[in-house]
Symmetry: D2
Subunit: 419 residues, 4 copies
Amino acid sequence: MPIPSKRVPNRENLADQLRAVRSETERLCVRLTPEDCQLQSMPDCSPPKWHLAHTAWFFETFILASVDPNFQPYNPHFNYLFNSYYDAVGTRWPRHARGLLSRPTLSEVYAYRHAIDEQILARMEAVDGRTFEAIAPFIELGLNHEQQHQELLLTDVKHAFGLNPLKPAYATVDCPALPSETSQRWVRFEPGVRQIGHSGGGFAFDNEGPRHNTYIGGFEIAVRSVTAREYLRFMEDGGYDRPEYWLSDGWAARQQNNWNAPLYWERTVSGWSLFTLRGMLELDPTQPVCHVSLYEADAYARWAEARLPTEAEWEIAATGREIAGNFLDSGLLHPHASESLFGDVWVWTASPYTPYPGFRYATGAIGEYNGKFMCNQMVLRGGSCVTPVGHIRPTYRNFFPPDARWQFSGLRLAKDFTA
Amino acid sequence: MPIPSKRVPNRENLADQLRAVRSETERLCVRLTPEDCQLQSMPDCSPPKWHLAHTAWFFETFILASVDPNFQPYNPHFNYLFNSYYDAVGTRWPRHARGLLSRPTLSEVYAYRHAIDEQILARMEAVDGRTFEAIAPFIELGLNHEQQHQELLLTDVKHAFGLNPLKPAYATVDCPALPSETSQRWVRFEPGVRQIGHSGGGFAFDNEGPRHNTYIGGFEIAVRSVTAREYLRFMEDGGYDRPEYWLSDGWAARQQNNWNAPLYWERTVSGWSLFTLRGMLELDPTQPVCHVSLYEADAYARWAEARLPTEAEWEIAATGREIAGNFLDSGLLHPHASESLFGDVWVWTASPYTPYPGFRYATGAIGEYNGKFMCNQMVLRGGSCVTPVGHIRPTYRNFFPPDARWQFSGLRLAKDFTA
Amino acid sequence: MPIPSKRVPNRENLADQLRAVRSETERLCVRLTPEDCQLQSMPDCSPPKWHLAHTAWFFETFILASVDPNFQPYNPHFNYLFNSYYDAVGTRWPRHARGLLSRPTLSEVYAYRHAIDEQILARMEAVDGRTFEAIAPFIELGLNHEQQHQELLLTDVKHAFGLNPLKPAYATVDCPALPSETSQRWVRFEPGVRQIGHSGGGFAFDNEGPRHNTYIGGFEIAVRSVTAREYLRFMEDGGYDRPEYWLSDGWAARQQNNWNAPLYWERTVSGWSLFTLRGMLELDPTQPVCHVSLYEADAYARWAEARLPTEAEWEIAATGREIAGNFLDSGLLHPHASESLFGDVWVWTASPYTPYPGFRYATGAIGEYNGKFMCNQMVLRGGSCVTPVGHIRPTYRNFFPPDARWQFSGLRLAKDFTA
Amino acid sequence: MPIPSKRVPNRENLADQLRAVRSETERLCVRLTPEDCQLQSMPDCSPPKWHLAHTAWFFETFILASVDPNFQPYNPHFNYLFNSYYDAVGTRWPRHARGLLSRPTLSEVYAYRHAIDEQILARMEAVDGRTFEAIAPFIELGLNHEQQHQELLLTDVKHAFGLNPLKPAYATVDCPALPSETSQRWVRFEPGVRQIGHSGGGFAFDNEGPRHNTYIGGFEIAVRSVTAREYLRFMEDGGYDRPEYWLSDGWAARQQNNWNAPLYWERTVSGWSLFTLRGMLELDPTQPVCHVSLYEADAYARWAEARLPTEAEWEIAATGREIAGNFLDSGLLHPHASESLFGDVWVWTASPYTPYPGFRYATGAIGEYNGKFMCNQMVLRGGSCVTPVGHIRPTYRNFFPPDARWQFSGLRLAKDFTA
């Protein structure tokens, strides 16, 4: 559900965007076999085929079904099969069993996508101006939703490939010369009342608003994310075996899952290797540490005698900075050393995901997009190397449970300062 | 871990307090048989016998063991058996299996308590002034810890008795004439920067500080808790069957556990009855609704077109109010209609339990008291009808996971206001 | 592990058999998409792709690896990926996760099969007579093993398709006119010492021998399996709600899984429908009831005032009968009315699967084929409509746990008689 | 449900037996505290208090309720609380939660027992001869049922005490000088048709009949049980790490539960110790190995190049032998070296627990006593050191699932012989 905005997008531009975003999703699947597109390696992940179908279903449900009084679904089963979590739209196929649907086949899902695209584009052209104004925000929402699934699709493929003993590579990449690691420094921000949140110009999700006052104590934030080199020092200092650094639930998760390194790290005779979308690679210690849970991030920060930033602190630090960095379009598919607050790895914040003061739940199914998840999750900020460029903003709030590790999640340190 | 305080308690007063608090715990068990004291009805609950032993262990470990270089434990197994969650103190008997220890017997546990009391009192008298100043804060902490376990002991007994088909009563109570329900009204608070948190005068837990600035939007808070009568309207309006009012995790919990009323409510031919510490009672609709999860509280608030207060809002409303109400010492053992912000039922707030700005973890085992739980829990405020009087403060932060229902937890509504 | 047999098969015949059996497995997959071949709908089932690969691995491991001192595996990962349960051959990929391997792809698995076939055929031609005699029993074992997996492949596809809301049909079949249901009658057998088990002429699995004496009380066995019509009467008489007919573990399984009809039965407005390999069909009451557990079979028999036959009774009844009936080669893929003891549905017996007197475990990995499963399973006899013709014998012992329902399992009644 | 017998017991004798057996159960509880009597350490075990109450309920339900048209239950909740598994008698309190009932208290349960005893004794005296003949078999059944629970009570107490880190002793025993271990020898039995099962003279459970023909191959059986010394050799030879000796389900159980010695064995610096009802003892290698599962017994036998006897073989060997040995009345509460086929340890047989040919299920609740468990369990024979003397017979069939280890279960080897 977007924050209402005065700006009405141009029809042609929006149609071009639709074509671009929709075909980008399919481009991401070109390297995958039909078998790959069937994989669901854990309940939190979805098969690529399901991502392809669900994003089409989103347009069908929230645009086609709402504008056309004579709407006939493409296939009467698809609402049941491809609804993700919208209770208002009806019951649905169990999430953990999405990998058990060999039918519709991958090519049938592509046919579904293309039929929906055609109908949407035809509608966009045919409707009068007022109707266009009414549906344009939902088309924009659908495109942003699709971009979120582009990132999820890649994180889910990485997870599924990562557990296959054959360690298949999603892509081969000629890696350019990259800037080297910089030394850690801190940027200082003075205490006082500040404003955070989205003010409504341009697209934003409803959870980014309303813009509101917040009191910030004085703080410092690091100029770059924590690197693998730094994280290794934590590990070598027994970080995974010293409960004094860990939250209670974090220590329980570490014990139960036998965590002793970030996800995808494997110890070899010569050191550490990583599973990546480019296959197994030797660990490059200059890269940001990635695929850690909030629990690991928090334990690291405590060990380092610092803390995670709150989401307000991060946003204040990011406001006014150029949104540049290593995103999906770089094609690197892996984080690299950088001082940007954007791209490479999402950073865990110390902030539970809660509604901003004055937040209102939209009515109807679309109100379920963000609001109902505002419990038991933590906010991440900044985007990653698999976030589509143009999708991120300083006010953007991503959120995952504190034990999630399969996203491209890292951390950046913060500290109080006292004048 | 208490907030450091300049004030040093008087030796005699503290000894009197110790005798009073410690004997109060035992008084609560007079009505229980040895079999009752063995009961653990779910992993979150502990047997009364374990509460009795663990609170003695707390004094033994954090006072006796720390002051005496020749300290010999009362029983070398007890550190393993009665440590609750302090990783720094060593491994421990699994929490979910506390009900499986018939030995030590109840009378052996009482002997343990009395031996520890004697040793503590002897130490308090014998030590020099400087040592007394050093241990006094830990004795105070031990007493506040014991009071927390007095409440837990009663909530755990209620849970265990509540599932017994014989529905035994913990106590018989001659109920006095009680004030009747008042109509709902709202109290308004202006926006601005406010201070919350404990400033260090008198005892407080470490999680109540530091005192700090926070920005509050304008809000209104209800003069009383939501009553059973009001909650019944939510139920009759299909509240338990309408996902649109529920957080996603809340709806999942409601489905999985088949919730359709607060815990301990039972539908009878003539209406609703409640299991209470006084046995089965007919529902009194003027009483505050109690034994609801955060999820139910939040769903009710959304249905009522209001919201839960944040903990800062609640504290601002409570500051300066008299701490009077229906506590453990009333002997009622059940919430009744009242306009006090204190007593009767803890109220769920909209605030996840996180560290205040500038919070520092104490080093050593005692640092595990509060800090390591600052994730995945929600703050409750105000105390209940089984909280020992004198134990509560406006800054007091209780915390439980959002699906917990066996505590005396209710809710009080809040609203934004816009001038 | 076959029972040793004097008979040495002819090289050419065996090569022809190998080509026939191996290509039959692939023929069964022609109707399946790559996505279908990836499906694992429960831990007991395996994906078709895994069946294809595992049966090749069986030949590679038990023939190629054993005859060639310079043996190089086709792919060094495949022993880990495609070993089913042979501890002596090494560790293996977890059974429940066979559906999570998108790589090797289906076409890579076909390439693997064909390479192994070529090597086996080349070996069969090249080796001297003595070596041929040594490997021939293992080739025969490999072919019988492959036939078992042909049946499993179809039962597993049926299970996976059966839970898909689209209810895809594996095949379309023009069903011929079939013989109609016959009335129930009984065949009588006199008491006395009899011999059962395989005597070693022709191929048999090791668990079919040794041939041995057994004492049989007088009994009668029904001329046909229990039909759907008869089973419906049990259901209509409350069979699924009357614990007095059920074994204790059976009743627990019925309660826990909410069984109230055979697997694949669905109640419709007009009666009952069945999911079959030919898609959804209306229930034909003349057909044998199928896809029931031992528990349901046993409960039915008790309700019908009869019992299940022991495996010895069934074998005595079947000895000397023509092995004709509705097998895989009929193409019907579904049981039909018949009086044959062979084909249509496996029948549950009252006999736990235990070693025959004098049974010896073969040494080495091949000894794990049958013997180690001789606990907690029940014997089924007679073959089904998806058993390859030529694979069944009167002495053939199939076995599954008593709660298994996804095999083509039905029942035939027996009774004691007293002269 | 007993096998019908012509013999009618004498009223006075039966009343004496009733007093003796009922008071014996209470004698076993004299050493237990009320807390001990509340313990349920796993779902398969029951608290002593529950055993005390359930055995009273058995008499109340199957005798008092059936003879008296005006029967009023002692307490209307007790049928729900103390029914074990009789579906025909109604729903019941969940088995795994028997330890959660602190009320009725232990003394209330004793009062229940005594009231039932009085009523039963009064009935026995008051009824006419024909009624006495009708109820006498049920009283005998009740007494044999009570004796079974005497053994279970001790095995359950042992399990609960065994996991307590304090390792409490149930009893202190002055152990007499005991006969020493004898060397292993074999007794031979010729092949042929034999009869096993109970013929109806004197009390027997229904599952012991009908007496029937069975064909036995020639076999040899060991003169004594396998000793701890012998079992240690299996352990030292890697028995717990070599899957080739194990049934598939057994190996899975061994892996999942991390078995590497019999239950209650603990490795110490100086060797092995055992938890016993007499507390922790050093392992005496001459004693029979005890507290092994069928899986361990079977693996040992395979390692020893022998096998377990079938139940028919054991019964043929035991028929005509004196029923003497180390039973509950010896007071030793632990197995010792002996050549008797009776007492010390139950021995696992190779026979799944199935109905004998011609077995009929009794109608009504009492028919659930034995018959409905005839699946997924294995037969044990001979009685143990906690079996009440007079309770055992050569035809007696005990039965437990193959992974059960908390009973006093050991093994005795057998072999085929070929003339």
